[in-house]
């Protein structure tokens, strides 16, 4: 397995390199630049700024410089947020996003898995239909709608929860709920279909014939077999939720990485775009390796080589 992990790390580094290269050139292909804002500046001032950030040099030279710095772990300085290095922005913002995203994943997993299992076990019954309807709705409702609705009722109308920031444990509830809605419903549906498949398997009948009760056959024999698709989904889900959602962070005024990423793009903050993209890609790669390793523990038939 260690051989496999080493191999995956090498492939991961190669992927990150490709991502960095592509982002760098595509970003520079797009017209405009960080110093073109609504307030016109003199050509001399612009030239001075470009010289300061090294943008007056040929593109390929800029690329080599950037990649050289990247190898040292230096993601450069933000163009727009003066005095902040990209490393520092990520270090400050990522934990905020990761906390909310992590909580949302825990919630989605803990609710989605049992819900999907119950639906499969009660297939065709009323409970199953209720779960299907709600999970389909949950997938269809966009997060800006669910979060504004929650905000309207829970903070404005009934004044139960704070509407912005992350100052108290209660202020986590709404953003986490809004973020968890989609994955919860998705996991529930995923779990339902894979559970249905497993319930129909011969070994479930074997378990019943041994005298195992229905509940324990579901918990012991079915769950572990049915959870693999959910594990697969968790990898990319963790990467996307923990690196922050722009919409949720914007609505609830949360200083997270997702917000930073989108504003970096709109303001053409080149180093920040590069930094967050590379960080996101690396995180996704790591999560996929983690998922592969988890597989081995869930299903003994899977061997990593």
């Amino acid at each position: 397995m260690s051989k496999y992990i080493v191999k995956r790390i090498i492939f991961g580094l190669a992927t990150a390199f490709v991502v960095a290269t592509l982002t760098f050139f595509i970003m520079n292909l797009v017209p405009g630049g960080p110093f073109l804002s609504e307030k016109a500046i003199t050509p001399q001032a612009q030239a001075a700024l470009e010289a300061k950030y090294g943008m007056d040099k040929p593109l390929f030279e800029q690329y080599l410089t950037y990649m050289g710095d990247l190898l040292h772990g230096d993601l450069g300085s933000s163009v727009k947020k003066r005095g902040y290095t990209v490393n520092r922005i990520i270090a400050e913002r990522f934990p905020v996003s990761a906390r909310i995203g992590g909580l949302a994943i825990v919630v989605a997993f803990c609710i989605g898995v049992p819900l999907g299992s119950i639906a499969a076990y009660k297939r065709g019954k009323i409970l199953d239909n209720i779960i299907i309807v709600f999970s389909t709705a949950g997938i269809a409702i966009p997060s800006f709608l669910s979060s504004t609705l929650m905000m309207y009722f829970l903070s404005t109308k009934w004044k139960l929860l704070p509407s912005l920031g992350l100052n108290s444990p209660a202020s986590y509830i709404m953003p986490v709920a809004a973020l968890a809605l989609y994955p919860t419903c998705y996991i529930a549906r995923l779990m339902r279909s894979s559970m249905l498949d497993v319930i129909g398997q011969d070994y479930m009948r074997t378990a019943r014939a041994k005298g195992v009760s229905t509940v324990s056959s579901i918990f012991k024999h079915a769950l572990r077999n049915a959870i693999l698709p959910v594990v697969t989904y968790l990898g990319p889900l963790m990467a996307s939720l923990m690196t922050g959602s722009f919409i949720i962070e914007k609505i609830f005024t949360i200083p997270g990485l997702g917000h930073e990423f989108v504003t970096a793009i709109t303001s053409r903050d080149y180093p920040l775009i590069m930094g967050t993209t590379i960080f996101l890609a690396t995180f996704l790669i790591i999560m996929n390796v983690v998922v592969d390793i988890v597989y081995v523990f869930v299903d003994p038939r899977i061997k990593l080589r």
């Binding site: 011969d202 074997t206 041994k210 229905t214």
Partner: protein, 337 residues
């Protein structure tokens, strides 16, 4: 009810309730079997042979229900037992070997875990005692190196080995009855013989009863004391193995025997298949269910169900051809109409 029988099924009717309607899977099935006997149930797919056997352990699909008759096993009225009580019998007094050993073991648990599960459920054994019992069982079914196998997963074993594991699992609590649902169908021919031999040995050693469900007449011929031939949810012929093979009295049984490849036959001899399709159990016919496929079908066969004609107790068949008197009477009746 009679206590001398291990299995006593009387006039069992079992239906599956589907969106398309009531599928009458079993129609008036009566089977009596003494302890330690080997009964073969033969018939084609959908004839109700598995359903009959499964109903002895109350193992019917969710939409299935016994709608008539009684099922008694080892003194328990299975048809009246709640699920919680049935669970105590399953795996202890009666257990089952399923057709496909590739799929009937849970891929994510070790062999030891899966055999041990039944032992832990039904006995007071704990810890090392369970492990010892598992090893004993593995040795019993002829698996070498039980210490190693106990920690292996199903995918690490061959098909024949897995079927041995399934048998070990079924024998875990020394059941009085073992139901073998086509235990050799999914195996290689060479392995088939080994498994059958193993089952025969074990049956003699442990003195348990076996119900052998199969569509392979060769399998039943070598193993069974009695044979029940099922067609469309009915037992169309029942008797000692010799009766069935040497003196078949139902056209379907005759057809089945004709379709066995014969060793001494000349090379160009073709096998004679039974033409046609099994009946639709959603709308079972009024007469004999085999009539539409029967070469000797008569008018009455399509109109009225034949009764049991008993030959040499316990051998009986349900076929109008055996009932000359009734046949003549009823033809008279039909011409008068």
């Amino acid at each position: 009810m009679n206590d001398e029988y291990l299995v006593d099924i009387q006039h069992e009717r079992l239906s599956f309730f589907t969106p398309a309607g009531e599928v009458k899977a079993l129609n008036d099935v009566t089977i009596q079997m003494k302890a330690g006997e080997v009964l073969g149930i033969v018939g084609e797919s959908g004839s109700g042979k598995s359903v009959t056997a499964y109903s002895i352990m109350g193992l019917t699909a969710d939409n299935g229900r016994i709608v008539g008759g009684t099922v008694t096993f080892n003194g328990h009225r299975i048809d009246q037992m709640p699920e919680t009580e049935l669970r105590k019998i399953r795996g202890k007094e009666v257990s089952i070997i399923f057709q496909d050993p590739m799929t009937s073991l849970n891929p994510v648990y070790t062999i030891g875990n899966q055999i041990g599960e039944a032992i832990k459920l039904h006995t007071d054994k704990t810890g090392d005692e369970v492990t010892e019992r598992i090893k004993e069982l593995l040795r019993l079914v002829g698996i070498n190196e039980p210490e190693k196998r106990i920690r292996q997963y199903p995918h690490e074993l061959s098909g024949g080995m897995r079927q041995r594991v399934v048998i070990a699992m079924a024998l875990a609590c020394e059941p009085k009855l073992l139901i073998a649902d086509e235990p050799t169908t999914a195996l290689d021919v060479t392995i088939q013989a080994q498994i059958l031999e193993l089952m025969q040995d074990l049956q003699k050693q442990l003195g348990m009863g076996i119900i052998m469900i199969t569509h392979d007449l060769g399998v039943v011929a070598s193993m069974c004391d009695h044979i029940a031939v099922m067609y469309a949810g009915e037992i169309v012929e029942y008797g000692r193995t010799d009766d069935i093979f040497y003196n078949p009295r139902h056209e379907y049984t005759k057809g089945l025997i004709r379709s066995i490849p014969k060793f001494y036959e000349q090379e160009y001899e073709r096998l004679i298949p039974i033409e046609g399709q099994p009946v639709d159990l959603l709308n079972p016919p009024a007469g004999c269910p085999f009539a539409p496929r029967c070469d000797s079908c008569m008018k009455i066969c399509l109109k009225q169900k034949p009764d049991k004609s008993v030959f040499d107790e316990p051998h009986y068949a349900r076929c109008w051809l055996n009932d000359k008197e009734l046949f003549e009477e009823s033809t008279k009746g039909s011409t008068n109409e």
